[in-house]
């Protein structure tokens, strides 16, 4: 360094050079993380952030996409006004809530005891065999499943009706099904009373296995010592389940419920296929909110209204989720420990 300090001009130019080099390197270094996360940023901006903002704008426009961008015209709150006065919207919201409850509750009421039984009474390969089998519907496409059930539910000699008929002629339990022959053919998908339960059954069938796996993982976190401690404290079998096992899996229940609520409120494929995509089925009994959104946007080509509906639907989902969080989050998230 002595050669540098001897000449202040040289020192100044050297330090300027260093500063320049340092700036360049610092810039490159600072750029690096942005380079790595750029795929997310670009895709998020293009396919999520911009679309969301645009859909706010769009919800105040009247627009048929066939006419191109120039066909847009500002209509203010008309889309929202129109949407909330449309009886189909209310019908679809009612159906959505109905289905969310009718499919949500059984999923968990069935899954929790089965998972408990699986974890406590079975080990190794048997447990895995049972769990894995019941999980299969979850990995199968909803379209395929709905098509299968579409035939199962068929009123003209569909297998479900045939079985019910068969049961009614079995000696003892037949009495329970005595009403069946008179009711034939039962139009599972063709009557406004039965359509929703029929859809609900498919949803329950598809997602219960998924919840069983989650709850099994939950029950597996409960240590055997805890059951022993409870026994020492004099808990009977039922009390062990109710006071020990169940509270311990609270975080899992909370999470599974959250997934169910968010998923169920967006139900689309099951009702869409089971009604063959036909305006929500008989007197719109199978019209869910998402389904309605699809009809408005793609069948009736009213993108502005569809955008408004999607925001109404969002507000609705947000409300339902926050109600759930408000009542359950504290207990659910705290869980054990």
């Amino acid at each position: 360094m002595t050669d540098v300090t001897s000449n202040s001009a040289a020192a100044a130019s050297l330090s300027a050079e260093r500063r320049a080099r340092r700036r360049k390197r610092a810039f490159r270094k600072a750029l690096m993380p942005w380079l790595f996360i750029s795929p997310y940023l670009v895709l998020f901006l293009v396919f999520t952030a911009f679309p969301l903002l645009f859909s706010v704008y769009l919800s105040f426009q009247e627009w048929n996409p066939v006419t191109g961008l120039s066909g847009m015209s500002f209509v203010g709150l008309a889309n929202y006004a129109q949407a909330i006065t449309d009886p189909w919207l209310w019908k679809s919201l009612y159906n959505t809530v109905w289905l969310a409850i009718a499919t949500g509750i059984p999923q968990h009421v069935i899954a929790i005891p089965i998972a408990y039984l699986l974890v406590t009474a079975f080990r190794g390969s048997f447990r895995h065999l049972y769990t894995a089998t019941m999980f299969i519907p979850f990995i199968t496409s909803t379209v395929a499943i709905s098509l299968i059930f579409y035939t199962i539910y068929s009123s003209n000699n569909g297998i479900l009706n045939q079985w019910l008929l068969g049961l009614s002629s079995v000696p003892v339990i037949g009495a329970l099904f005595a009403w069946v022959p008179d009711a034939m053919p039962i139009r599972w998908l063709g009557s406004s009373d039965l359509l929703k339960p029929a859809i609900a059954m498919v949803v329950i069938w598809k997602y219960t296995g998924f919840n069983i796996v989650i709850y099994s993982a939950g029950f597996l976190t409960v240590s055997k010592d805890l059951y022993d401690a409870a026994k020492v404290d004099g808990c009977n079998a039922w009390q062990q389940f109710w006071h020990v096992a169940l509270p311990m899996i609270r975080p899992f229940i909370f999470f599974a419920l959250t997934l169910t609520i968010i998923g169920n409120l967006q139900l689309f494929e099951e009702p869409f296929i089971l009604t063959a995509g036909d305006s929500g089925g008989v007197s719109q009994a199978g019209l869910t909110a998402s389904y309605y959104l699809y009809l408005v946007g793609w069948e009736w080509l009213e993108m502005g209204s569809a955008a408004a509906i999607s925001w109404i639907l969002f507000a609705f989902i947000a409300l339902a989720t926050s109600v759930h969080f408000y009542f359950n989050a504290r207990e659910g998230l705290e869980g054990h420990n």
Partner: protein
């Protein structure tokens, strides 16, 4: 073993499970059987609960109503590209969030987490319009590409990185002279293989089964994917149900076979978010 379940005899425990299993697999057996019957057999009374002998004619009929193998190829193409893309881009972004401290990181990460809560239904309309603006309507690209750097995948992999890779290891690689990309590629990627496998499973299943996106994006029948093609023949006049059931069954076969071999990984992967809470 807690007493509640011990008090039940073993047979009844198995009986409960076997009922569950039967209810679960019945539709699968049913669809396989229906694929071998003619339409009139299916709707005869009582319906045939056995395998029929019309498999070949159903298969021929299936090829008449849809270009089945082309459609299957389309599904495979979209799912494979989307999966490979997601494994690459999500791990890359996750590495960016994991390995660096930079201004705005927490804000962006927070937005990313929040974006996972946005219901897809909300973005359906604007997504469709964006795809239209970009001129990629009715392309497979619009099916697989927008999801390759998704929040779920990035979050999943970043979480795995935080538990499996230490700062010392990254520093050691830096001292060894590895460039940023080299560290990601040669040091980090090999160490996060389990998380990549999980993500690949989730992505593939999601893309293979996806219906809503193809429904709004695709319009040319030759570009249809399986889910869309099957749905499109549902409403044919005089639907050849034997053929449709055969197609439905075949469309499920790839994932069912994969599940046979990788059930543990697939279950763990699909419940990853939930189980880790």
């Amino acid at each position: 073993m807690p007493a509640l379940t011990r008090s039940l005899p073993a047979v009844s425990k198995h009986a409960v499970m076997i009922v569950g299993v039967l209810v679960t697999i019945f539709p699968f057996v049913w669809v396989a059987m229906m694929g071998t019957h003619t339409r009139s057999e299916i709707y005869s009374s009582p319906p045939p609960f056995y395998f029929g002998d019309n498999l070949i004619s159903n298969y021929e009929r299936l090829l008449e109503i849809m270009p089945f193998w082309l459609v299957l190829w389309n599904s495979l193409y979209v799912s494979v590209l989307g999966t490979i893309g997601a494994v690459f881009f999500c791990s890359m972004c996750a590495y960016g969030f994991f390995a660096y401290q930079f201004r705005g990181k927490n804000v962006i990460f927070g937005i990313m987490i929040a974006s996972m809560m946005v219901p897809p239904v909300l973005t359906l309309i604007p997504f469709f319009l964006t795809v239209r603006f970009l001129g990629i309507l009715d392309t497979h690209f619009a099916l697989w590409f927008p999801g390759v750097a998704n929040a779920f995948g990035i979050f999943l992999i970043r979480q795995y990185m935080t538990t499996s890779i230490t700062r010392d290891l990254l520093d050691a690689a830096k001292v060894d002279g590895a460039s940023d990309f080299r560290i990601y590629w040669s040091v980090v990627l090999p160490l996060i293989k389990p998380a990549l496998a999980t993500l690949a499973i989730v992505m593939f299943i999601g893309l293979w089964n996806n219906f809503l996106t193809p429904l709004i994006v695709l319009s040319t029948p030759e570009k249809y994917v399986l889910t869309l093609a099957l749905r499109s023949v549902q409403s044919l006049a005089n639907s050849p149900w034997g053929a449709i059931m055969l197609g439905t069954f075949l469309s499920m076969v790839p994932l069912l076979v994969a599940f046979l071999f990788f059930s543990k990984q697939m279950m763990a992967g699909l419940t990853a978010g939930a189980v880790k809470g």
